[in-house]
């Protein structure tokens, strides 16, 4: 059972859909997290999502969302937002996998204690590599939102001294 799991979700080959994994890369290259905290790029987990989502006290997802706000807007979603079909709220391309998984784990009794999602409103999600300028500018905002949520459960990562962040592999290769 981990204290906190931070998961970036999204297809890194689909433009702004890469923002979840990109924020995870941003965090991991600047901060060192305690050993009982997981910070991972889950990419497109689909059928493997139940494995990753079970048995954590707190889970934070970072994902591209489709909402009517301006591209690059960072939005916070609660567990209820993720499992309900609230009209007007359109979540990520990874629905309904996330909703189904939460409901399944609820039934099995292994659902996380709480779940939040930091959503970044996407602009383009065609198959191509590279974020839109709006979404790229939102990375530090989304990362700050994640760190803020982490702090609420007592997780404050150490900044890495003299960190020299590089581009994630899918942009660098």
């Amino acid at each position: 059972m981990s204290r906190l799991a931070i998961f970036g979700i999204g297809n890194v080959l689909a433009q702004d859909d890469a923002v979840g994994p990109t924020v995870v890369h941003w965090l991991n290259s600047r901060y060192s997290f305690p050993p009982d905290v997981i910070v991972e790029d889950l990419g497109t987990p689909a059928l493997e999502l139940p494995t990753h989502l079970a048995d954590h006290r707190f889970v934070i997802f970072i994902d591209a969302v489709a909402a009517s706000d301006e591209p690059g807007t960072v939005k916070l979603y609660d567990r209820e937002d993720l499992i309900s079909n609230a009209p007007g709220l359109r979540l990520s391309p990874h629905d309904p996998a996330l909703q189904d998984t939460l409901l399944m784990l609820d039934m099995a009794g292994t659902a996380p204690g709480d779940v939040k999602m930091v959503g970044i409103v996407a602009k383009d999600t065609e198959m191509a590599i590279g974020l839109s300028a709006e979404v790229r500018n939102a990375i530090p905002v989304a990362a700050a939102a994640v760190l803020d949520l982490a702090e609420r459960v007592g997780v404050v990562p150490e900044p890495i001294a003299n960190s020299a962040p590089t581009a994630p592999w899918w942009e660098a290769a």
């Binding site: 493997e48 359109r90 409901l103 399944m104 039934m107 099995a108 999600t125 290769a173």
Partner: protein, 567 residues
């Protein structure tokens, strides 16, 4: 009067598959399988370093990740004629086996069982009777009366709250639902247990792969798992032995729960051995190489034509000309220019979108053909080829499953009945059981080889000047996957992935021959056109993965199976 039914999308997981059927007199008379979104990912690889291709290919799709990494490194190694060390082969094999154990269990319980199981009916079950039935099927310890009662109480709580949660999308009370309440209760109980046991197989992939999805440990030339028995940071004996109990638990669930459950469901729906055969030409490739050059394999592959097992013709390896020259893709009815048929090395991906045209272009999926024939791929093809080739493990588990189904259905089940909707489920369970035996054998092989002192994991690739081409295949959970790469002066010049769902979901070809999905739906019963559960049963039995065959983005929140009944 005939009715046209459109189901879009039909997968319970991410994806874009549209099925159109024309129903007349309670039966499907015509069918179209269409993928509604373009993939076009292969063009992203052109000009890249072939050693990086596997990193990108396993991000192709939202469902099958590991398999695209394996096919990709094999394709580049094949182009180079590059051998890999025994440890690398063992490690890759264990990853592929554990991945399949996970995938198949998830498919049955989480993605398709609800086509057959009426959750609400489980409320009427007698938990003691359910426990005694389950105990008669296997000695699995998770079948007690108390456990059955606890699961029933959970379902009762859900139904009482008016929120069926995860089960809200099922077709409860549909006339095609026929299992007794006790069997429904057993199935719901195992649905929940499957969530736990699938994790063990997944953890094995993560131990060797570094993470999953999107493993990090493969490389063109082998694997990147440093082996040193004296170092805590590498693959050492502790880490090797940490996989054993995980494999044991996953194997036990497969043999004592999954296989008996599939046999029970099949035995109680015997009429479904009469539907869904479709294309009875089968294609599979050999898997789990035992030498570094991919020339010897644990399980056979090949082709079977017209459902006649005596026509079995083996495919001996990636270099076998029968395989290498046999594959083409046609785009007559797909949204591409350059209709074809074209060999994958010459394959083109130039979009040419039209509207959905019943007699023209109607899908983003191309039509792969083998020597001009549509082929069904997947566990059924894999098991039938293994059975026809006389593979002892395939024969053992197929015969055991048929005998178990016979005693429940009170009819003599034969291999010929496997050409059907239920046959695909049965074959998937057989294949998983076979893999569960091979898993431990491969694990022991790796341990023995490491203990012997062999720590080699990688032979570095060297790219020649000029053009080389290679094919990497993998008998993946959804069927035969192949990556075809042309490399020019060390850079990728062309890359084509011919994926399992493309074989099965292919539209009509230049000769007008329908693909396996389309053929399998003909003569399927449809009791209630508003709720075409029977169509879902047959399509889900293939384990469709349109996320694999196409791009998956879906900005609108859609119901899992939106059904439109048109005039």
């Amino acid at each position: 009067m005939s009715k046209r039914i459109t189901i879009d999308p039909i997968t319970r997981i991410e994806g874009h598959l549209r099925i159109d059927v024309e129903v007349d007199g309670g039966e499907v008379k015509k069918a179209w399988a269409s993928s509604t979104m373009w993939r076009g990912i292969e063009s992203m690889l052109v000009g890249r370093d072939p050693r990086d291709a596997w990193l990108f290919t396993q991000r192709f799709c939202g469902v099958c990740t590991t398999v695209h990494a394996m096919a990709s490194v094999r394709a580049v190694e094949d182009a180079l004629g590059l051998e890999i060390p025994p440890n690398a082969q063992y490690i890759r094999n264990i990853i592929m086996i554990a991945h399949a154990l996970h995938d198949h269990v998830v498919h049955f319980y989480q993605l398709s069982a609800l086509d057959w199981v009426d959750v609400v009916s489980a409320l009427k079950a007698d938990p003691a009777k359910a426990a005694s039935i389950a105990e008669s099927l296997s000695d699995w310890p998770g079948n007690s009366k108390e456990q059955m009662k606890a699961v029933q109480d959970k379902v009762k709580g859900l139904v009482g709250s008016g929120q069926l949660g995860i089960f809200a999308h099922g077709y409860w009370g549909h006339p095609a639902m026929k299992l007794p309440p006790e069997i429904n209760l057993i199935a719901v109980s195992h649905y929940l247990q499957a969530l736990e046991y699938q994790r063990y197989a997944n953890q094995v992939v993560a131990i060797l792969g570094g993470k999953t999805p999107h493993i990090q440990n493969v490389a063109v030339g082998g694997v990147a798992n440093a082996i040193n028995l004296d170092s805590p940071a590498t693959l050492n004996l502790d880490r090797l032995y940490s996989m054993k109990p995980l494999l044991d638990k996953a194997i036990s669930f497969v043999q004592k729960v999954y296989v008996p459950d599939v046999c029970a469901v099949a035995g109680l729906y015997p009429e479904w051995f009469g539907y869904g055969a479709g294309v009875k030409n089968y294609l599979s490739v050999p898997e789990f190489p035992t030498d570094g050059k991919n020339t010897k394999f644990l399980l056979p592959g090949g082709t079977i034509m017209n459902g006649d097992l005596s026509t079995y013709k083996p495919i001996t390896g990636q270099r076998d000309e029968y395989w290498r020259k046999g594959v083409t893709e046609d785009s007559t009815h797909a949204y591409y220019k350059d209709d074809g048929p074209l060999h994958p090395f010459e394959g083109k991906t130039n979009p040419n979108f039209t509207d959905f045209q019943d007699n023209g272009k109607y899908s983003w999926v191309k039509s792969p053909r083998f020597e001009g024939h549509p082929m069904q791929v997947g566990p059924l093809a894999n098991v039938l080829c293994g059975y026809a080739a006389g593979n002892p493990l395939m024969k053992k588990w197929t015969d055991a499953a048929l005998s178990s189904i016979s005693s429940i259905a009170k009819v003599q089940a034969t291999p010929a009945m496997l050409h059907s909707t239920l046959g695909r489920h049965g074959a998937r369970a057989v294949r998983t059981a076979v893999f569960s035996e091979i898993a431990l054998q491969q694990w022991q092989g790796l341990v023995d080889n490491v203990v012997k002192g062999d720590t080699a994991i990688y032979y570095p690739p060297e790219f020649p000047k000029g053009t080389i081409e290679g094919v990497g295949f993998h008998e993946a959970p959804r069927g035969t996957l192949s990556h075809w790469v042309v490399i020019d002066n060390g850079k990728i010049k062309n890359y084509q992935a011919v994926v399992p769902t493309t074989w099965n979901a292919s539209p009509r070809d230049e000769k007008g021959n329908v693909g396996p999905y389309e053929a399998s739906l003909l003569n399927n019963p449809v009791a209630d056109a508003e709720h075409p559960l029977e169509v879902l049963r047959t399509i889900h039995s293939f384990d469709p993965c349109m996320a694999c065959a196409v791009h998956v983005f879906d900005p609108e929140k859609k119901r899992l199976a939106r059904v439109k009944v048109l005039g």
